[in-house]
Symmetry: C2
Subunit: 487 residues, 2 copies
């Protein structure tokens, strides 16, 4: 099989150079042996969602290094370059099969980036953070924070989280709580506790890559449940539960990533009943729940039959990795075991600082500020989409969170158009990173929370211009095509 | 199969109560169905390394609750207690098979604990830590520390670690570096990158539970290589490499945990050649290397064919989870992918604070102080062992690190004697936590770094008294036994 290059659109390395380097590596490593035929530039461009000239530039570099040679009418062939490994260990051969590469976690600083679902640095309350930090390091307990800790979590933080969860009604007598290094680790520990290779895991479709790649990497069979305007589509879920009998079902009921959709209370009740009847382990990702900018909050799903994940990353500081999971004793006990094997315990300095940030009331004050700012950003992105996107586009209308989902009209391909957008200094993540079993070439995620209102407007305006221009171009090109012969 | 209780010797819950509760749980959950026979008290006591009276106390409690019933000459039988689950989801049935439970990570505060391989809180330079923290949070870069970071590590720290590694000669042109949440996570990421279920992984025997349980949990077949006074036994390793063809070999060449043994330079060279010839991936755990109290430092094994793990946990603060791995590009790239799926990235506050602690020179000043204190503790534990342990005991003589290994003379069983020691307020970890394929009932680990010289002396003196007393008792009991009849 042809080893297709894996392109990082956010890298500082130009894309043609990435294609060149990766093909060169494949030739040196013998994955593209002498005599093998490279795909045509058009074909590879299509495969990678890139411009054909990008591929041609990469092929020219390979040719100039004597690694491939083009033959008119036949294509390009590998002519050399394979060298025998002089090293003792062939590390690449030892690697386990990798999951598909996750999208880059941070975008380049100069661009207007809609690519990362994260808060804005400009809103970080650095003075309040410093105060919390100083109070922690000035306190008497500092030596115990520096000492080896407990895999279940830093006890004072854990106690506070338990008290809050009981007060909110999301922690019953059969439940326990574990502090994790963010919500991503909670999912990883659940994967270790509950999933064996070959098990079926049902996720939302589209879903964010952190879920998708984690369970694929664990050897699970992923099945996607269609997302609608009211969150996960219960009719589709019913079919999936009946036909595929998944072991796990992971749902983000509030401001789902990437669609921004929220499940109404009545669907949540029905979801719990369906999951219970099917004997499927229901995991509720609540990492965005505290970020509602409009409308009324809807209680968490959490019952004695579900596991709830929460995190400080979205409402405080993602650079401090602290989240938690609440669920049945037996599951949390196994997660604690897995946690000890993963990394012993969560960093205690950050646990202590976030505890202080919360118990001092600074967290809630900060949350009120980001809710206010978030409401403005949400209005800005929605009205900019309304104004600038091609008329036939569809986009979701979230009431909170950090993301919305756009579907461009056919034949636009959000993956292909990304290169063009990046040339104009705007970036986003196209649908392919999120789809599970329903390719959605027109889909893309706009993560708006990290940007200012001004940049949101400017960015969507630039995107709108590119998308509208491309739509006009393709439609006029089509109208110029000769009508197909009827006979 | 009988569901043997899993006892936590460090718990505040009395052991007979733990046995009672776990058997009760097994009965309720139907794992011990009505009519099934419990093991005889003597049998279960032997299995768990506990006193027979402990088991009897637990059985009496079960009987008083009407859950079991004893029949003279036949044993104890389950008489009731199974109740049907009213909950919708049987979470226990959904769990993947767990690894054997790791030993508890922290001991109770009152006891003299030789159980945990960690530094002493009394030596933590809290003022220097506070200064480093204040310098970080007072700096201009604080917002970028709080923002989502890179899975490879906080860039300023990563750059410093790379420069240091190059300077030390442990990072070649083909190598890259990833910052991890401590050394344990580096091992976990390597497990994800390199190990498939059924792969053979060679480890030292005895080895610390964090290695053993991690790879067992990943479905690997573990094979133990005998430890000698000079570290891993190369003759035994040769046999293992030939017969078992492991994919990975994990070695701690300096002050190995639990034995404290160090490999001489000449064995390290031979080890590398053997690993290379066998095509096995050699992983060097260097977490204790900077803790040499006596003798001359021996250069790290690290070649272009190996992976080196390092950590701040042993020389600074284990509560701040920061370690790193250096190895071939392809492996580090895969570890970075796995890191992103595990927990996105390592906590940035701790990375920044430890960077400041290191670059300010405070880390090196602290290291000099713990080397001085460590030398005193090492002398204290060795002379106390010399003085107090039964004459026929053997123990290792490390030149650094945090641990030494004791082997009590036959027929003493370190697991059985632990209960007695705990009654006298001294605790340690018996050999069963560390053995891979060579049971060593007389073996135990003494972790001395976390204790003061006074407590080391007091603790070993108490242990010596118990061990000598037990040895005298068993020997005199033997001499009273009637000689076996010859015909």
């Amino acid at each position: 099989m042809f080893p297709a290059p894996d392109i990082d659109v956010h890298s500082e390395v130009p894309i043609y150079r990435q294609v060149f380097q990766q093909l060169k590596d494949s030739i040196s490593a013998g994955r593209l042996p002498k005599g093998s035929r490279l795909p045509a530039t058009r074909e590879l461009a299509g495969l990678l969602g890139l411009n054909r000239t990008t591929i041609s530039a990469a092929y020219e570099m390979l040719e100039s290094e004597g690694l491939i040679s083009g033959q008119v009418g036949r294509g390009s062939f590998v002519t050399g370059g394979t060298h025998t490994e002089t090293r003792g260990i062939d590390w690449k051969a030892l690697l386990t099969p990798g999951a598909s590469a996750p999208p880059p976690s941070a975008a380049s600083r100069e661009a207007i980036s809609f690519a990362s679902s994260r808060p804005s640095e400009l809103l970080f309350p650095t003075d309040e953070f410093r105060l919390s930090c100083e109070e922690v390091i000035g306190g008497a307990g500092v030596a115990s924070i520096l000492q080896l800790g407990s895999p279940g979590g830093y006890s004072p933080l854990r106690q506070r989280l338990i008290a809050e969860a009981r007060h909110e009604g999301v922690m019953g007598p059969g439940d326990d709580l574990i502090v994790t290094s963010g919500c991503q680790q909670a999912l990883d520990l659940l994967q270790r506790a509950l999933v064996r290779p070959g098990d079926t895991v049902a996720v939302e479709d589209p879903v964010y890559p952190g879920v998708k790649n984690l369970f694929l990497g664990a050897g699970a069979h992923l099945t996607g449940v269609r997302m609608g305007p009211d969150g996960i589509d219960l009719d589709d879920l019913r079919r999936v539960l009946e036909r595929e009998r998944p072991k796990l079902l992971i749902v983000t009921p509030d401001f789902q990533n990437p669609t921004g959709a929220t499940m109404p209370a009545v669907s949540r009740k029905e979801l719990v009943q369906m999951a219970r009847a099917a004997g499927v382990a229901l995991i509720e990702n609540g990492s965005y729940s505290d970020l509602r900018y409009e409308g009324h909050p809807i209680p968490a799903i959490k019952t004695e039959d579900t596991i709830l994940l929460r995190s400080y990353s979205k409402i405080a500081f993602p650079g401090l990795r602290v989240g938690w999971a609440i669920g049945p004793h037996a599951v949390i006990a196994r997660m604690i075991e897995a946690k000890q094997l993963s990394d012993l315990h969560t960093d205690q300095l950050s646990q202590a600082v976030l505890l202080r940030f919360a118990e001092s009331g600074r967290l809630e004050a900060h949350r009120q500020r980001i809710l206010k700012a978030g409401a403005e950003k949400l209005r800005a992105v929605l009205s900019a989409c309304e104004r600038h996107l091609p008329e036939e586009s569809m986009f979701t209308r979230p009431q909170g969170g950090m993301n919305l989902w756009v579907r461009l009209p056919e034949p636009l391909d959000a993956g292909e158009l990304l290169m063009r957008a990046q040339r104009d200094n705007v970036t986003y993540l196209p649908g392919r990173y999120f789809t599970v079993s329903r390719p959605d070439p027109g889909g893309l995620r706009l993560s708006f929370a990290g940007l200012t209102v001004e940049l949101i407007r400017a960015g969507v305006s630039i995107l709108g211009e590119i998308f509208r221009g491309e739509l006009e171009r393709t439609l006029s090109a089509r109208s110029l095509e000769p009508a197909p012969a009827l006979v």
